[in-house]
Symmetry: none
Subunit: 209 residues, 4 copies
């Protein structure tokens, strides 16, 4: 029904909605999901009233952004699985940064406010399930290839991705890139078969907020 409602929007309203979501993604990425609503409206080029007509409060806006963002991440995961030669390569590609994935981590893991909102949104939950299920397939396949150690679960992988993607406000430019690449390489090294991890694999299911 919500989806239907969105489809029925007039063209200009639709355009406004899209611009608001895009602006909110930017602003949430920069300043987190507690950023002033007016800043988002300004960035979207609409009045604050228009923003509130489309999203009656901050929660609704976070919900809208989260849905859009999770859908994008799902698409990326599917593309990686479909286009890469091996599951391991798909995994490495995913661990490599994408700004949508980074925003997902912000919304779903870092910001308490956003977590709370997302937790109670069935639509977002569905996307999350789909993403985790896709990741699950990739993880199993990579293990079948012998490229990924057997004692990690989808949850372990997701956790690692989430740690890597947290914003790292240290150096700028190349330096930051170098740092991130090296930490990623260290983690990837750790994911290779060879040693034993403590405990049991963490499943994707355990990551539900």
């Amino acid at each position: 029904m919500t989806a239907d409602a969105e489809l029925r929007l007039r063209a200009d309203a639709r355009r406004n909605r899209d611009q608001i979501i895009a602006a909110a993604k930017q602003v949430f990425g920069e300043s987190g999901p507690e950023a002033p609503m007016e800043e988002i409206a300004r960035r979207a080029g609409v009045g604050i009233g228009t923003l509130y007509r489309r999203f009656p409060d901050r929660e609704a806006l976070i919900r809208g952004v989260a849905r859009d963002n999770f859908a994008a991440v799902l698409a990326e995961a599917r593309a990686a699985a479909a286009e890469e030669q091996t599951a391991w390569q798909a995994l490495v590609r995913l661990i490599g940064r994408s700004s949508e994935l980074q925003l997902s981590v912000q919304l779903g893991l870092v910001s308490p406010v956003a977590r709370q909102v997302i937790r109670s949104d069935p639509a977002t939950a569905e996307y999350r399930e789909a993403i985790l299920s896709e990741l699950d397939d990739i993880v199993r396949a990579a293990q079948a290839e012998g490229a990924l150690r057997d004692d990690v679960g989808t949850g372990d992988v997701a956790l690692i991705v989430s740690m890597l993607l947290r914003p790292l406000p240290l150096a700028d430019g190349e330096s930051a890139t170098l740092m991130r690449e090296r930490v990623a390489a260290l983690l990837v090294d750790g994911l290779r078969p060879g040693t034993r991890l403590p405990g049991r694999p963490i499943t994707g299911a355990e990551l539900r907020p």
Copy 2:
């Protein structure tokens, strides 16, 4: 002089000051360094005016907390180096969580506000240098032991610690502990000699804010 000034505080003022720092550590840890000042005052059991007499503005409070916290981390690092059998074990002990270290990461890396304040505080800067120098010794010793791969620098290690210690608001209790332990183990595995990392080792000096 500041230290002297602090020592000369009347007994009750001293007690209040300590309670305020303690409360601020808690609250900053939970809600970050932009948390309401009144919340901190309440938690410390003092009036808002008392807080402001001791720390004339938020910056001063952040500075006070950072100094106290960095001093504690330095002590922990020295204790680990002194008490563990090998440098590698000292390193692993450090990578294992400590709430003081976690707060350091919050203040020094995650929060832009706190970073800005710390950056311009010479006292905190001294502690940071001392901590990095201590870590430097440990890293070199562990490499001499053959326990740590040669192509990582102090900066790489510090980065990894900082990633691990970023708050992970997922599950509570055992589950969170398990997750953290496993990610730590993956990273530790990655730190073992065996493969090559891209780029060059990152030094501690590169982490200066």
Copy 3:
């Protein structure tokens, strides 16, 4: 552009802006330009938020009041020059009280805060120049008429006006009026030709803040 911006205000916003300026004039006149903002908002019949939307801080409000007030004083000076038979009469009329002129003195001479704000506002500066230039004409004309001693300059006259108009919180009603009239008369007597003043005439230019 500012003027344009003001013209473009929606009717209700315009009305509120005017009420705020009017209230601020009152309150500034009574309690000076450090009076509580809430008092001004209450007097204007608007919420505090509305006041701050229109004038983002106290400085902006002072600036708004000063412009409005200086414009009114300029109009009064021109009217006096145009409507009175002689320049001397115009001068006497100006020296006689006007509440706008009194507020100008408050803002431009008495209150250090307001002086500081006005000093850095080009729009107000223009009004001040225009007022002084108008006064200059009147002073010269009155001297040409032989009605005003030659050894005073525009600055002397402005100073005298400013002294006369400083709030005199002594008696109320008739009594205050009588007092002011007599002091004005004494000063006017002093302005008549006859004796010599020490020093040189003070020019209007010397009164720039």
Copy 4:
């Protein structure tokens, strides 16, 4: 009784009290009688607690300053009358500035808070009566000398003095001095016999707050 109480103070307490009054005179002169109490305590070199022990609240401090100040002005007036050759010269000397007299004007005429306090203090009232009575004598004598126009009363003179002594924050140094001298000269010119003033003389009695 109050006076008695003051006399009985221990030497050190007496010294503190005097320093506080002196500091308050300075600070009131600079920032008006609403200046922070701590500033006064600091300037006096005592703790804020000591200030409050001596003067239980701001009113009491203002009262203390006003008594001290009015006493000093009375002494100055008597000295002028006694030491100058003619009453007119005594008058001119009084109109010339004295910082005590200036403070009196601040307290008794300009600041609403101080006025309110002084109004209800009998001790200050007595001083004021004495000052006005002294001034009365001078004015009458100057009129008898033929040096002062007959149609002004003590109140007129006091008003003029109060206008002249209001702080004039315009220029600094020489310029300010020049301005003040010229305005004083204009007023003195106005006080010479020659023309008629409107209304009737204002008596000193009419100046009671």
